[in-house]
């Protein structure tokens, strides 16, 4: 087991990793920008190193600074968290070149899944169902038109270098394809420096269902069921739950095993998530995230596992603590993401927390780096807390969420907290009958934006 690891991240996920490491007796090094000197992850870690000024590019994204910090502290491994450098294949390469262990998959696997076209080809090759669409990139508008004809409208033009919901243009009919194609290419070039696009059939009322997988890097892998993350605003998840309300145990096993076998065949190491659109009982692969996800706690709750602990274990060459037969769904879990944003426009709202009080009690988990008096810096992501509840079934989880929301206090700044009490009153949420478009429609109705 590692003696000391460095966490190349900040906020709640840095805390998450520190907690797992501490339980394992592994020493932790926090890195931070000058804006985060008073951050909770810095206070909690055994050591900390200031790696740069506030901007991400000069600090949390600075490979040189992070590697240097490893050198001067003697950290043997780096946990990248999510975001920042967690899916940067060049970083993984640099880390390995310096004789430090990267806690996560190989540079090769990250690269494979980072390019959306290669990812789709790989998925197809491994037997994962995909959205019908172009084979590879679409170079010209004539091909685009032909594809629209073949698969039927509506279709969506996507940037291969895109992700996180960016770089996509919808063409509802043949009349739109030319504009959508050209616009997508221009935007892709501007946003990602790469104008290559591909085209997929657009699904009208899908759910976003993602499967958690985990590999030991030696050819063994398991699935840990699915999460339904359909409630999104501008492609950002707001509310996630496990198990998916629309997924039967048989469906879970079927898609889960396809994913687990695919990941095992790759010899994949660590945590990963395979994301799908699910419509009319069919799964359609969108992308694979080669890292831990924000919403991993709902899976942890339902399967009784510590995924970060497992990541550190397999990175240290130990086997996974579980096998597929050990993993059984137990109850239901829901997570809500609380952002430092002012409703109804979701405008960012950094500032000083005058009072923070976390909810407690049975089945309640709060993952947050907040504390009384903490000043949220304006330079980073607006996610400030995740509230996760677990119950014996979905109705109990919903009731527990409602109760916990009533106890949670985050004062001094505006947050999206008030959203959730309202959301819990919506019939679609209580019934679990929603799709990826539902939340934006409800927000428009409820807040008039």
């Amino acid at each position: 087991m590692f003696r000391k690891i460095l966490i190349a991240n900040r906020g709640e996920i840095a805390l998450r990793v520190i907690r797992a490491a501490r339980e394992m007796g592994v020493e932790t090094v926090a890195v931070h920008s000058t804006a985060d000197t008073d951050a909770m992850h810095v206070r909690m870690a055994d050591e900390s190193v200031c790696i740069g000024p506030p901007p991400g590019t000069d600090s949390y994204l600075s490979m040189a600074s992070i590697l240097s910090a490893c050198e001067i502290t003697g950290a043997e491994a780096i946990h990248p968290g999510y975001g920042f450098l967690s899916e940067n294949a060049n970083f993984v390469q640099a880390v390995e070149d310096h004789g430090i262990k990267f806690i996560g998959p190989s540079a090769e696997h990250i690269r494979m899944m980072g390019d959306k076209i290669t990812a789709k080809e790989t998925a197809k090759r491994l037997g994962i169902p995909c959205v019908p669409g172009s084979e590879g990139g679409v170079a010209d508008v004539e091909t685009a038109r032909a594809i629209g004809e073949e698969f039927g409208y509506p279709v969506i033009v996507k940037a291969t270098a895109g992700g996180g919901g960016r770089g996509m243009k919808l063409a509802r009919s043949a009349a739109d394809i030319d504009t959508a194609f050209r616009a997508a290419r221009t935007e892709a070039k501007a946003a990602f420096g790469n104008d290559e696009v591909y085209i997929e059939k657009y699904l009208g009322k899908p759910r976003h269902i993602e499967v958690q997988v985990f590999g030991d890097g030696k050819g063994r892998a398991v699935h840990l069921g699915e999460r339904d993350c359909s409630l999104q605003r501008r492609h950002q998840k707001v509310f996630e739950e496990a198990p998916g309300p629309s997924i039967s145990p048989e469906t879970r096993t079927e898609i889960g095993m396809i994913c687990a076998n695919a990941v095992a065949a790759l010899g994949y190491e660590g945590a990963g998530t395979i994301e799908f659109l699910y419509e009319n009982g069919e799964f359609y692969f969108i992308e694979m995230n080669t890292r831990l996800q924000v919403e991993h706690p709902v899976t942890e709750a339902v399967f009784g596992v510590d995924l970060v602990r497992e990541q550190i274990r397999v990175a240290a060459g130990l086997p996974m603590s579980f096998q597929q037969d050990d993993l059984r769904v137990n109850g239901h879990a829901i997570e809500v993401r609380i952002n430092a944003e002012k409703l109804p426009n979701f405008s960012p709202c950094p500032g000083r927390i005058s009072q923070y009080h976390a909810p407690g009690g049975l089945g309640v988990r709060m993952d947050s780096a907040l504390y009384d008096g903490y000043r949220i810096p304006p330079y980073y992501d607006s996610l400030i807390a995740k509230l996760i509840v677990h119950g014996r079934d979905r109705p109990e989880a919903l009731a527990r969420l409602h109760r916990a929301l009533g106890e949670l206090i985050v004062d001094g700044i505006d947050t999206t907290l008030p959203l959730f009490a309202k959301l819990l009153q919506a019939e679609a949420v209580t019934s679990g009958d929603y799709t990826i478009h539902w939340l934006e429609g409800w927000l428009a109705e409820t807040y008039g934006v």
Binding site: S33, T34, A35, T37, D38, V42, E47, S48, V49, C50, I51, G52, P53, P54, S59, A64, S65, L67, S68, A69, E71, I72, T73, H98, R375, P377, Y379
Partner: protein, 162 residues
């Protein structure tokens, strides 16, 4: 390393007090921003002695580490404008300090040396690359705040050059 900030602050203030004394100044004011909630605001001041024997360098109170500001010392009547002390040279990167070019060779600079802008003060090694850290201005090396082979983080004070 956040816990060493207090010690560094105290070392810095002591250096300022020396500067005050050695240059017969009555007041020195330094305001330095390291980050969004991390700044240093210190004023050291004293009465000019009528007889040389009665020198007494008062110190301004130390800032609470690392976020808040100091209270100013009792203000003397003399010299007006608080100057921004250009004093501290801070580390632009994470790495290891070397005070000389190679083991066994003399240090780049010593306390008391006069340096020119751009002159190498020390080396910071980061990931097997040696980075020469230049003096940001002409001046005299008043304090060397780091030891040879010490690890430093971004923003760590290295030397006082006045």
């Amino acid at each position: 390393m956040a816990d060493e900030t207090h010690e560094k602050d105290v070392a810095f203030i002591k250096a300022m007090a020396e500067l005050l004394r050695d240059n017969d100044l009555t007041e020195l004011h330094v305001k330095r921003e390291y980050g969004e909630s991390d700044w240093l605001n210190v004023r050291v001041a004293r009465q000019l002695p009528s007889a040389p024997m009665m020198m007494q360098p008062p110190m301004a109170s130390a800032p609470a580490a690392p976020a808040t500001t100091a209270a100013p010392a009792p203000a003397p009547e003399a010299s007006g404008d608080p100057s921004q002390a250009p004093g501290a040279v801070t580390s632009p990167m994470v790495g290891t300090i070397y005070l000389q070019a190679e083991p066994g060779t003399p240090a780049f600079v010593s306390v008391g040396d006069k340096v020119k802008e751009g002159q190498t003060l020390l080396i910071i090694e980061a990931m097997k690359t040696m980075n020469q850290i230049p003096a940001p201005r002409d001046g005299t090396v008043k304090r060397i705040l780091v030891e040879d082979a010490a690890p430093v983080e971004f923003g760590a004070p290295l030397m006082i050059i006045e």
